[in-house]
């Protein structure tokens, strides 16, 4: 599903990734871990082309994305659901509208999307918050709203950047359950986290980043 070969990314004079190579199989739940600044977020951003690589090759769902034209990037992003570290919920729009946005972008008709949005809000336990504004929600609720937006269009690939960064252990466990459910439905899930509890005991692959490259690969 995702393949990196010798991917390099440099920010001004600082090398964030110095030749990363890995593969994530279709339907896999894969973790990236490492200290802050190890390059986890950079790696995910390269997958959905928020940033461009300086070298190497990246392919997503069989499509070479590192040399992809700018006009094709929205299409790539519509294949992917992203749980952003900084949430990126739009203020001034209800939780329902924030989640529905992912479907509107994909051209789903208004009548059809209501059922889908309410179903996914129910799945993340936010059905009762559909009409609330993002600002009025707790950190955990906002996190779940972002997950709802990321999965509502049933993407083939889900990326989550520090999805439990601001959450207490109980809420983190709830969020992890959602990811496992989504993964069980066949979606490939890539999670960047420094929260050891999230992957310990899962038996899933954990790639540890250090110094801009993959240092170790282990089972969680």
């Amino acid at each position: 599903m995702v393949r990196f070969e010798g991917v390099i990314k440099t920010y001004e004079n600082q090398q964030a990734l110095t030749g990363v190579t890995f593969q994530a199989a279709r339907g896999e739940l894969l973790f990236f871990t490492g200290a802050s600044g190890a390059g986890k977020s950079t790696l995910l951003k390269l997958i959905y082309r928020a940033i461009d690589p300086d070298g190497g090759s990246i392919s997503v769902n069989g499509i070479e994305t590192s040399s992809m034209k700018a006009g094709h990037v929205p299409g790539l992003r519509r294949m992917i659901g992203v749980v952003f570290q900084d949430f990126r919920l739009l203020s001034g729009r209800s939780i329902y509208d924030n989640v529905a946005l992912a479907l509107r972008i994909r051209g789903v008709a208004e009548r059809a999307l209501k059922t889908q949005v309410m179903e996914v809000l129910k799945m993340v336990g936010l059905r009762h918050k559909a009409d609330s504004w993002p600002e009025t929600l707790s950190g955990g609720e906002q996190q779940r709203a972002v997950i709802a937006r990321a999965i509502v269009a049933e993407p083939v690939l889900l990326l989550a950047d520090e999805p439990t960064g601001n959450l207490d252990p109980d809420t983190s466990a709830g969020v992890m359950r959602i990811f496992k459910d989504i993964n069980a439905r066949g979606t490939t899930v890539l999670i960047a986290t420094h929260n050891r509890d999230l992957y310990t005991g899962t038996g899933r692959r954990v790639l540890k980043l250090a110094g801009g490259r993959i240092e170790t690969e282990a089972a969680g």
């Binding site: 929205p74 519509r78 952003f84 990126r88 208004e110």
Partner: protein, 289 residues
Amino acid sequence: MSGLRSALAGMWKEKWINLLSVLSIGVGLFILLVALFTVYNLNYFASKLQDQFSMTVYLDDGISQQGLARLEGAIKANPAVRTVSYISKDAALGELKKAMKDSAYLFEGLDGNPLPASIEIRFRRDNLKSEAAQELARQIKAMQGVQDVQYGAKFLEGIERIITGARSAGIAFLAALLVGVLFVCYSTVKILFYRRKDEVETLSLLGAGGWFIRAPFLVEGSLLGLAGGLLACFATYSVFGGFFLGGFASSVPVLRYMLFPAFIFYMPLPAGLFIGFTGALIALGRIRI
């Protein structure tokens, strides 16, 4: 629907900037209308003056009926000519006596009729150009049976200068105003876009295409223009309708002769919509998403 909803939400969020823009667009469109009204009336008065213009062809005393018919036919064949009227020697003298009835003694002892017969030519308004009139006068003068041709060349040139000047100044002023109003829409949409840069970036990261992102701003620009147009309409109705056509017109005589074309009352709406949409389109076209 999604674009309209986003646009309305966005407009409400930035209501003060939008209100200021609507006021600027409204005032700009109103000034534009006043300018249009002025140019329209200047043209109208100038064309009324053109209606007064005529060319007189003085005929030889010995011209035959056949020669006269041939001459009239040749003149009528010119596409710029509207009417041709023959004035006989007797009719010319009669007219002169009527015009100078207070000085009737001047005609005492007059031996015969010294006035020549003539043909008066009036022109179609749109075809009346001083160069064409000069050329026609030259051609007629060369015809058999013609003694002289006289017309108000200076008068015609003067009218032409007024019309050309008013049109040029009007067009330049209108174009400047149009660019000004367009720039207000352009700047507003650009400011709104940059103020919502985070939102735009999020939409882009979620996979929204360029036009999905641009559409609400286009709608917003169009609505701003439309609202400005509505304001200009209101101002036009109030000022033109109430002030000019009402009590004020009776105390300023010239206003009674002015024309108030219907378009000045409804034009601000489509004009505002067009300017708002175009301004937004230019602003968004220059932004890379």
